[in-house]
Symmetry: none
Subunit: 350 residues, 2 copies
């Protein structure tokens, strides 16, 4: 049984030591469910390895606090260890510290000033179709109903608003095959991508301000493939590009931009995920910002806030971990930051 009365740092260590690589979250989800079911003022639901718990106090506002239970693969960095005010180990920063803070709030707040929905979900670190939040949004959207959501992803204790969208496209260049001993009878498709790369090298990324936060876009080749055989002038070369776009663009507008950049070339689109506007001007978000303090900044990476945004729930990222340490072997979290984050959230909800 998880002891929710221990301090948030010790609780983080306890759940870090329950290994929960994506797809293998059951043991931890069971412990979380058991601990939450022991709190009589919460109603608890479960879908797969996702656990949802809610107060039902009839408050005017409902807020949602979410964290994922899974981690990237362990890299010889378990069990956790404390050293110089830091807790080291797989998942410390991304994002079991945030999960521990949410569990502490659940245990400490039988009567928060807003109704609260706690969501602990699985498979955030892998393909979108396995994502637990994605599954609950599809199967039980009513569980996620809220006026505002805080996703406790690592942000170093700073409120990060919205997130950038992402899409991938393939730029195709055709040529004409020929034997490479008589190359002048062919048209070399690999040589033909020179202008595609020239446009990428000349590309000026936008830094738009959206709802008061500055974003930073990027358009990059993430793959290139071409070639038939060592003695053949290739008739096809494909450059795969990834466009990270600010949340003032829809996916369709982002596609249009990519089409314009590669005007004259054949462009096809593969996967895409929309951005989310920061929405910090929303009164419910403003109340959170005021309670937590600090200067909000733009979230550049794509996160599950976009899923809340798509459900009509304004959402921000806010958590005690350092995002630059995520997915690294030497991952750690500052114990002081965990305590700060717990204090700020309690301040907001009481």
């Amino acid at each position: 049984m998880l002891d929710l009365s221990q301090d948030a740092g010790a609780l983080t260590a306890a759940i870090v030591d329950v290994e929960s690589v994506s797809g293998d979250e059951k043991a931890l989800a069971d412990l979380v469910e058991e601990a939450l079911r022991a709190l009589p003022y919460l109603s608890v639901d479960r879908s797969g390895e996702t656990v949802v718990a809610r107060t039902s106090l009839g408050r005017a506002e409902r807020v949602l606090i979410a964290g994922h239970l899974d981690t990237v693969p362990v890299a010889a960095n378990l069990p956790s260890r404390v050293d110089g005010g830091r807790l080291y180990g797989c998942g410390t920063t991304d994002m079991k510290a945030g999960v521990a803070v949410a569990l502490k709030l659940a245990a400490a707040l039988p009567a928060p000033n807003r109704d609260v929905t706690y969501v602990f979900y699985d498979c955030e670190e892998v393909e979108a179709e396995r994502n637990g939040l994605n599954r609950v949004a599809r199967d039980h959207p009513e569980w996620l109903a809220a006026d505002f959501a805080v996703l406790m992803e690592p942000t170093d204790g700073v409120i990060e608003g919205g997130c950038q969208g992402t899409l991938r496209a393939e730029v195709h260049v055709a040529g004409k095959r020929a034997h490479s001993a008589r190359s002048w009878f062919g048209v070399n498709a690999i040589h033909g991508i020179e202008p595609v790369l020239a446009r990428l090298n000349a590309y000026q990324a936008r830094l738009p301000v959206v709802d008061g936060l500055e974003y930073h876009e990027g358009l990059n080749a993430v793959g290139v493939r071409g070639g038939v055989a060592g003695n053949v002038i290739p008739d096809s070369c494909v450059v795969t590009v990834n466009y990270r776009f600010a949340p003032d663009l829809t996916i369709e507008q982002a596609r249009e931009h990519v089409r314009e950049v590669f005007d004259g070339f054949e462009v096809s689109f593969t996967d895409a995920a929309p951005g989310a506007r920061p929405g910090l001007t929303d009164p419910v978000a403003a109340a959170f910002t005021a309670a937590v303090g600090g200067e909000p900044r733009a979230k550049l990476g794509w996160t599950d806030v976009a899923r809340f945004s798509a459900l009509g729930v304004p959402a921000v990222n806010y958590g005690p971990g350092d995002p630059n340490l995520a997915h690294q072997q030497g991952e750690y979290v500052s114990l002081e930051k965990i305590a700060d984050s717990e204090r700020a959230m309690l301040n907001w909800l009481t």
Copy 2:
């Protein structure tokens, strides 16, 4: 069982329809071996998918007639079809028409005026170390002993002297990995190949005259690879180039030229094969030239004549296919040229 009594065009179609992409020649090699073993005046040897058959009449001169059994990858151009006096399909011109002529000679000539060694070999279209002729030259050099060799590569019925050399090199560009959401922390290696492609696009190929024949060089990208994952700025990109060089350069001189072209980039060399000077002044070559007729020209493609050259056997290219159609999706061979070639070779050997 291959029917060697059908006309050479029909025999070409029959062997074209036995798919034999490099590495997958067994079915065709088995058919060829079986057909040759049925001819009592030939002694037959086999090494891997290479078949060698010889007359042993004690003639003053031994000539060797060779062809490769493999083709480049099929490009939706099988089975073969006849249209307007042309046979279309993968391997028609390069070089199953030549193989068919050699098989017809084997069947038609129990007592040629010169002893003949027929060689049908595998893996000509891929890396030199897989080449069947290369393997036989190493393991059974005595099988290849001859005073003169005719390699029935496509030459459009013209004697082609010598051959250009070929080498492959990899041009490496390094970068620095980063998450593509924060691409400015990385260095994109794919973007970094733009100047490599610019040099290739600006390249001016040499057209040197060697022993009276004009050659035509070429330097081309034949492959490109780069990319880690769809959300990672790639830290490595490699362009594979193929340099076809005239026989006035040694392999080392050709490498030096490639190093100069890509000065400032990391260049590594993979396989290389030397060119062969035309050597048409040799008396035994002159006898063949007189029997077949026509005006000899330079061979641009690398061919295994260079291997014979290295074994001290003067050799020429001569075959019914059109070399300009080799490795093209619309590859075909003229049925009339096949018959002409068969007639000229019979004329030489009777």
